[in-house]
Symmetry: C2
Subunit: 339 residues, 2 copies
């Protein structure tokens, strides 16, 4: 990011027609948007796009979710038909929704309207072996980056991350523990309404996976992502890398996209400057993300659905932060104004 | 509000294609919107309007602000010319902005584009006498109600409250103390960047005003509003009453609109059900508002500008909460979906 543009935005804010600092976090965000765009004022994002990455997880075999894996494909169909929560919110904020299947379990073809980038049918069980090979992981990253780059070529100026995948909060917890050093018990939550006993089991599964991964002795960021993550995490890493490369902000949603953010920043630390935490996850892991991204999430509405719902709700805040820098009169203008 | 529609919304949410409760506060808000509209699903607000009530304050003579009173009229001119923070945010969320002058100090005519509803040139000094007569207060309430009713007749389906007025955080602190029983020191803040010494003086002014009001022995809600409030508070009470009467949600901004909300609810307790707290005020008084409105504010971005900025930023959240209830598929739909 561009520290000069950041400083210019801070200076500009100090001269706008308001008490200095009175727009609070909107001023911080505006300065970050200037740094991301490498210019001040930053452009006002007008074409946001949500990328929903979908995949299934071998770790489902460990009993970490109450939901059958078929729900992943059913939710993909719901999103592409426009009936998911994320579609309702996307209509509200004027975002397009792109669904990318990077590895759901399915017998038949990928439905119309879903971008087919399937690397394999679900990951392997991360509790017993690496979830992906390094090649599979790289292929999924490239798929996400390709989708994002095509969107940007088509005019997208704000990327929003989302996901669908039964079992993916288990893989996310493993990534949070691996990338932050936290104890699995502190970053593993109840996901889609798991009860307390099953959540304790989920913690054990994550602990087993981390021990297995540590014993393998390959702890580079790509190895960790491949070993413990999901295909959707890898695809979202690609989205984040592509957004950063194009100097476009990427809004992070909850714990799953947050786990992808940790992997992306581990792979390329400069990506952190391009990520905006949209919503604080209700999952315990998600609450650790701000420490890595440098600022707390914009929203905290107790959402724990994923899909990109929390990130989409933050889109108008990003637009407003940029527009304030573009549109507002200065204190000098106001003192010249007739009264 | 309609408890049956509220219960219907809760039931509808439980059957939508997501884990129960996973949309968190968006579900709570959606149920409240159903209760407000007296139907489920509630309509999705498509025509939000911000009413910015402007007035000056006799208590300015006590040295409670660093800003000269001329800034009120200058800020009114800035809002009507489109260069204020609130205009930038209104463009982002698609809201119209209506500026109502209910009592600024000005020598010349009210500028073009400003609705002229001036009751008097500023209030009296609330530290030494009632700020308004009961008649003046009623006239300002009626002006706000009239503006809101005309907007609603013209298609406005979501009211947003804002204000401009140098000195109005002092009157707001007095209203908060009077309506909540809080000590002035606990509800009086630094307003537009007052330093610590001046803030302590501001607390003393509020304390003097409360003692004067208590000694007068007329503690009904209208008497309290007239004695301690501003003309913009009264006008905003009118906006809130008109919104509630038309079964339309009214979004509250920060400490000034929050003080008006306390007065409105004191005058007509059922109005509380129609108010949505948009943004937590950075002023200490504002942090007490959720106790009265029954739920915390939707946003907490450390804004302390007023004008309606925080309330406007909450508009997409209100729209999304309604749209989720309107647009989402049910769990039954999803299980029937091809996978």
């Amino acid at each position: 990011v561009d520290r000069t543009a950041y400083a210019q935005a801070r200076e500009r804010h100090a001269g706008l027609a308001k008490p200095p600092g009175s727009l609070g976090r909107l001023e911080d965000l505006g300065a970050r948007l200037a740094a991301i765009a490498h210019r001040c004022p930053p452009p006002v994002p007008s074409s946001p796009a949500l990328v929903v990455a979908a995949a299934d997880h071998g770790v489902h075999a460990q009993g970490v979710s109450d939901w059958p894996q078929e729900v992943t494909a059913a939710m993909v169909a719901t999103v592409v038909s426009g009936g998911a929560a994320v579609n309702a919110i996307a209509r509200t904020v004027g975002a397009q929704v792109v669904v990318v299947d990077v590895g759901t379990l399915r017998l038949g073809p990928v439905p119309d309207g879903v971008r087919d980038e399937r690397v394999r049918s679900a990951t392997r069980d991360l509790a017993v072996e690496p979830a992906m090979t390094l090649d599979e992981c790289r292929t999924a990253i490239r798929a996400g980056a390709r989708v994002a780059a095509e969107l940007i070529d088509g005019g997208t100026d704000l990327l929003v991350t989302g996901e669908v995948g039964i079992g993916n909060t288990t893989a996310s917890a493993a990534l949070f523990a691996a990338f932050t050093g936290a104890d699995p018990a502190d970053v593993t939550g109840k996901g889609a309404n798991l009860d307390d006993g099953r959540t304790a089991h989920k913690v054990d599964v994550v602990r087993t996976a981390l021990a297995r991964h540590a014993a393998a002795g390959r702890s580079g960021p790509l190895e960790t992502l491949a070993s413990l993550g999901g295909l959707e995490h890898a695809a979202l890493v690609g989205v984040m890398l592509a957004g950063a490369a194009a100097r476009i902000p990427v809004v992070v949603d909850g714990v799953v996209t947050g786990a992808a953010a940790l992997a992306a920043v581990a792979l390329a630390p400069e990506v952190a400057g391009y990520l905006v935490a949209g919503h604080t996850s209700a999952e315990p892991g998600g609450r650790r993300l701000p420490d890595r991204l440098g600022e707390p999430a914009l929203l905290d509405l107790s959402l724990r659905l994923g899909e990109g719902t929390g990130a989409l709700l933050a889109v108008p805040l990003v637009q407003a932060a940029a527009r304030v820098l573009t549109d507002m009169a200065t204190l000098a203008d106001v003192t010249r104004a007739p009264s």
